[in-house]
């Protein structure tokens, strides 16, 4: 068992947890914004996929990772448009449309990938790494935590930003009101549908960004269906975090670590089938859900369309 605690194992585990956790973090934060505003955005798996594909194509064509992230975010926001128009504006069922978005984007990205690349899966060069001055020189932790792509630090900074937005700003209050008591927000003179629409677009952008990170930094390639449930884990993270971004961060790291365990164990010479490790995050989710099941975790108006003057 001593092999488990070598430096290379620890670095692989923690750095792998960060790499695997960042897409979950971005998706979870995005979903949190939607859920706060009362929209159960079950289509983020599809938004992540379009983001992953758009980001990959942009980076593949231009060589620029920044452009890849931007395209990924825009792709995710585009995939969120059906939710904006059909669920927020027209008040259609959020779950049905969410399923449609996910299924449609699975098909669309697989189709686009086939027409662009046929059966080839070109690989991108390694993403640029930004070693934080000072912190990056700490043994083990420097390599594990402070030698990552800039988007990793930006995502963590986003957690702080969202904490501030939710707690200190009018935007945060509006979002909360749109999910807790939309009629009150309406009475206060704020457009509920616009608030929710903005939340959904932000969700799409962040999910797409997470997808782009997954394809161009995490994997370096795009494979159809590559998100493999990451979007749903994001939804669970948002549910469990009960509106607090810091819990999304901690949850994402926990899930990231269980995903990174395979590679790290293989480095330590222990061969476990990936399927065993792939089960871990979902086992953790079910255990946590069952443990905290008693407590209501969702805003009262979640999933319900808002129409002025109804009831």
């Amino acid at each position: 068992m001593s092999a488990l605690f070598t430096h290379s194992f620890l670095i692989a585990l923690i750095a792998g947890a960060v790499t695997a956790g960042v897409p979950l973090l971005l998706a979870g934060l995005g979903e949190q914004i939607s859920e706060k505003a009362g929209v159960l955005n079950i289509g983020i798996e599809g938004m992540m996929l379009l983001g992953a594909y758009a980001g990959f194509v942009a980076t593949y064509a231009t060589g620029s990772f920044g452009l890849g992230f931007l395209s990924g975010g825009i792709g995710g926001a585009l995939a969120a448009l059906p939710v904006l128009v059909l669920c927020i504006r027209l008040g259609l069922n959020q779950i049905v449309i969410g399923i449609a978005v996910t299924v449609g984007m699975q098909g669309l990205t697989a189709l686009l990938h086939y027409f662009e690349f046929s059966r080839e899966y070109p690989r991108l060069p390694a993403a640029p790494v930004w070693v934080l001055p000072g912190l990056g020189q700490i043994p083990v932790l420097g390599k594990a935590l402070f030698s990552h792509n800039a988007l990793v630090y930006a995502s963590v900074a986003l957690v702080g930003l969202l904490i501030w937005v939710f707690r200190e700003t009018n935007i945060g209050l509006d979002l909360e009101a749109a999910g807790q008591k939309p009629a009150a927000l309406d009475a206060a003179g704020v457009d509920v549908l616009r608030t929710r629409g903005a939340a959904v677009l932000a969700t799409g952008f962040l999910s797409g960004l997470g997808g782009a990170y997954l394809s161009i930094v995490g994997a370096g390639i795009f494979v159809p269906f590559m998100t493999g449930g990451a979007g749903y884990i994001g939804i669970v993270l948002a549910m469990l975090a009960r509106g607090r971004p810091i819990w999304v961060l901690l949850g994402a790291m926990l899930f990231g670590m269980s995903l990174a365990l395979t590679t790290a164990l293989q480095l330590a010479g222990i061969d476990v089938p990936t399927d065993v490790v792939q089960m871990l995050p979902f086992v953790v989710v079910m255990v946590v859900l069952a443990a905290v099941a008693r407590h209501s975790m969702l805003p009262p108006a979640l999933g319900l369309p808002y129409a002025r003057g109804e009831r």
Binding site: I95, V96, I99, G104, L108, Y232, F282, M286, L289, L298
Partner: protein
């Protein structure tokens, strides 16, 4: 509710308008139109997308139709594929009519398939064929039901959102199936990890002189049986009340918790039966990493059928043909079968839009989509 329109057409509005002589026929036509319109719109928009990608949509659709329905071999394949789809659909009808989102069908299906694939070859030889098949089918249904038990109990006891829990259990079930195949049930004589194969003569008997197996009959009985139970029995009515309005169900003195567990169990058992039938009828084995992911196809299909069993049969034939033809087209026309997913998504979008337009007409109070919210 739309399901009532299908069984008891809107006699009220016809009487008040006084102009329509055959309200039942008119309502049936309207219902058929409401099913066909989303499909037609999806085919058109999907076709435009193909055109943009540089493929001839008419040639593609023609090819799919020919290979999926018109050629005898293709038709056999299409009809064979209907068996698991129908069983999944009948399971989903039970859950959806009770207002429960069982979105975990893939995990339930696959674990049941693995169970049947493990049991049947092990028992064959020791027991008569009919008994082996019966045990394997029942075991599949049982495992499917068991896999839904945790979400069902969490929903019944604590009201925990079943969308998330069934999805999580589904991912878990898919991975667990692979683990079982690779680590426990692996047939040592094959290179690709798979369970021990059930010989063709030990599988579900075939119908007449075709390649269609008798699982299709089980599936048809299940769909029609579910439709009957849900619309004509007290148990079905209780579930419908639960689905229409949970508070009303509580006030009516129904044991809501028990009904939730019952609905989930029946739903997942039928889906599990689908997995068992697919293995015992077609493959005889389950390969590692095999996951047909029928859920993303059947969930929209069941919505489109407005939870009506007969409509499900017709739509399943259509979707099966689309899949069979789509697979041939992937090889011959160069349009990957993932295109079917795009079509399914478009069908869902147009379905929701048409329900929206329908709802704006004052006579239509509620819809399937509305009651499931």
């Amino acid at each position: 509710m739309t399901r009532e329109e299908l069984t008891e057409p809107d006699a009220g509005s016809a009487v008040s308008s006084g102009a329509v002589h055959r309200p039942a026929l008119r309502a049936l036509l309207a219902a058929v139109l409401r099913v066909l319109a989303p499909i037609a719109l999806a085919l058109i928009v999907g076709g435009l997308a193909l055109e943009l990608l540089g493929k001839d949509p008419l040639a593609y659709y023609g090819f799919v139709l020919e290979r999926g329905l018109l050629r005898f071999g293709g038709l056999e394949e299409t009809v064979t594929r209907m068996a698991p789809l129908l069983l999944i659909a009948s399971g989903l009808i039970v859950a959806f009519r009770a207002g429960l989102w069982n979105l975990g069908s893939d995990g339930q299906f696959l674990l049941a398939a693995v169970t049947a694939a493990a049991l049947a070859p092990a028992l064959s030889g020791a027991l008569p064929r009919a008994l082996v098949l019966l045990i394997a089918l029942l075991a599949g249904a049982l495992v499917g039901a068991l896999w839904s038990l945790l979400p069902a109990l969490l929903k019944a006891r604590f009201g925990l959102n079943e969308i998330i829990t069934t999805l999580m259990m589904s991912f878990l079930g898919v991975s667990l199936s692979n683990v079982l195949i690779k680590l426990v049930l692996r047939d040592p004589s094959t290179t690709v990890p798979q369970t021990q194969s059930l010989p063709v003569e030990e599988r579900l008997p075939r119908l007449f002189h075709t390649t269609v197996h008798s699982g299709l009959l089980i599936a048809l009985v299940a769909v029609i049986g579910v439709h009957f139970v849900m619309t004509r029995t007290a148990f079905g009515l209780r579930l419908q009340v639960l689905g229409a309005n949970r508070d009303a169900a509580v006030h009516a003195g129904l044991e809501v918790g028990r009904l939730i567990v019952a609905a989930f169990t029946v739903s997942a058992a039928l889906i599990g039966l689908g997995g068992a039938v697919e293995v015992l009828g077609v493959w005889g084995t389950v390969r590692a990493d095999w996951n047909p992911a029928y859920g993303s196809l059947v969930v929209p299909l069941v919505f489109l059928a407005r939870l009506n069993g007969y409509a499900v049969i017709a739509l399943t034939l259509f979707f099966s043909a689309l899949m069979t033809g789509g697979e041939s087209a992937a090889r011959r026309v160069g349009v990957p079968q993932h295109y079917v997913l795009v079509l399914v998504a478009l069908v869902l979008l147009f379905l929701a839009l048409i329900e929206y337009l329908d709802r704006r007409r004052p006579a239509r109070a509620q819809t399937v989509m509305g009651s499931l919210a």
